[in-house]
Symmetry: C2
Subunit: 123 residues, 2 copies
């Protein structure tokens, strides 16, 4: 097994690039049962509330922000992580220094297997 | 949806405690399709090489170490992450300042749903 299974959060040359919305740039790493997405959110930017059937977890790696889940706002800081069951509406608003979030999807979101733009979600 | 879906990497009061081996302490967070495990590895400690059918990803959050996969040693530093397909033998040896690793399993490892000790793996 070679280096093709090894990546770095800060290496923007790897992964599948996707602009989720203005100021939300991600690199996506598909696995067999899991898909990782390294999301860089610019200061004070937010992604629209949306949902999808896949379970999702998020880990706040840098910065701060507000995680909105099921209509409730949760202030989060570095080290916080959260589970978002499938179908639950969610979004994120970055704080004044932006945010770096690791998102984890299972099963993988097929619509994220190719470069593109948008959340590609129903809601 | 309340705070029961929100956690912190550094809050040792949450998650299911498991000692993988001497100097490898983890807190496990089971989801529906994904299981997260926050592993604190003491300086220079290593876990035995083992394997399991579940896909695994790891993210090095603090410290340094060597990820051993399929017999190959990969030196890793903060921000590195890796995929370990199911069935691939793997282990980790922490550097001189220890390591904090986020492990991601899918599907969840049923044997990690309860407190215990050991890797609970076949190899």
């Amino acid at each position: 097994m070679g280096d093709r299974h090894f990546f770095n959060l800060y290496d923007a040359s790897r992964g599948i690039a996707r602009t989720l919305s203005e100021g939300l740039e991600t690199r996506i790493f598909p696995g067999e049962n899991v898909m990782l997405s390294v999301v860089r959110i610019a200061a004070n930017r937010s992604g629209e509330i949306h949902s999808h059937p896949q379970e999702q977890w998020g880990v706040l790696l840098e910065g701060s922000g507000v995680r909105i889940q099921d209509g409730v706002e949760h202030a989060v800081s570095v080290g916080d992580f959260w589970q978002t069951p499938g179908g639950v509406p969610h979004g994120f608003r970055a704080g004044s220094s932006g945010a770096l979030v690791l998102d984890i999807f299972s099963p993988p979101r097929d619509e994220y297997r190719r470069p593109g733009a948008g959340f590609a979600a129903g809601e």
